[in-house]
Symmetry: C2
């Protein structure tokens, strides 16, 4: 069975390949910011937002590839009553990180799997992250050193890089931080016989 | 302040460098298997075993480098009442993995920091991992594909590689699985002014 990833995230693709899966990435373009804003205005929960966006991406690709298994993924950041996507500029990222400093936020990663054009499995994982009380000068240096690497990441950090220095505590599944609840997905693919067990 | 890592683990060195630390690795050779066996015979807990081995490594290097901060690390696997180190051969790893199949084990990672030849900080982290009910043929293929990559790892797996496919659940800190409770260490180094905050 051909497996397609409806995501441009190199981290997700690398995670799945490292686990031994053969797949191709074919990013599905949807108006993420528009959908997120509309859902948030309706009072949707962060989990609903991530799940809906993951489903939209999978669905879009699955319409054109009904013969394939299609994996849609999305990640959002939840802070107080707000749902955040990626910061559009270094300045916006700085403002986000200064608001998160010393506080706890959540990352929610959702995955939806389509088979023959229909959703057959979905899962969402949640992680709680607490930022330390870093200095203004430290965060300026951090953004200058890391913007290009993290600009496509919700929250503006990679735990596998200098981003780990933002935090005093991370509670939850590492793969969910990276944007994909990997273990539940692998277990489902194994149960269905799509990968050797 | 010069920082030395008393460990041959490339994973630990890469973790610390990715977090932005400058350090050198100078493995300290101690009789790990002998010490582990002696401590286990005395009824030492897995945490005591890991902590003692981490301290011995740091101490040995610190004696020769009193001007440096020296980081000693160790990781053990705890299953029922046993404490395991690295498997010495593919055959031994197969026997270990078959015993762990369908069961929950723990990884304990300890770190001890020496300054001016004396221990100044220590921490240990624990993670619970549950293996899925994989087939004999799958595990044979897994070992054939991964032995060279994982032979220096307690448990014989890398969560960042195909090793993730061994598991149905991983509960706890990812860095502790990799062999180093990174966040507590970074927070201590920051509090002491050894790294910018």
């Amino acid at each position: 069975m051909r497996l397609l990833l409806a995501s441009a995230s190199e981290t997700r693709l690398a995670l799945l390949r490292a686990a031994g899966l053969e797949l191709e990435a074919l990013p599905a373009r949807i108006d993420e910011e528009g959908v997120r804003g509309a859902l948030e205005a309706e009072g949707a929960s962060p989990l609903d937002v991530a799940d809906t966006l993951a489903e939209m991406k999978a669905q879009k690709l699955a319409e054109r590839h009904r013969e394939a298994l299609v994996l849609g993924c999305d990640q959002v950041l939840a802070f107080r009553r707000e749902v955040w996507g990626k910061a559009p500029s270094p300045k916006a990222l700085r403002a986000q990180l200064l608001r998160l400093r010393g506080e706890t936020h959540k990352l929610i990663s959702a995955v939806v799997l389509y088979e023959e054009g229909r959703p057959v499995w979905r899962h969402a994982g949640e992680v709680r992250l607490t930022m330390r009380d870093f200095s203004d000068s430290w965060i300026d240096g951090y953004i200058a050193r890391n913007w290009e690497a993290v600009r496509h990441s919700v929250g503006g950090y990679h735990l596998e890089g200098e981003g780990v220095r933002l935090f005093s505590a991370v509670e939850g599944d590492y793969f969910t931080v990276l944007g994909l609840p990997l273990l539940p997905l692998l277990n489902y693919l194994g149960q269905r016989g799509f990968i050797p067990t």
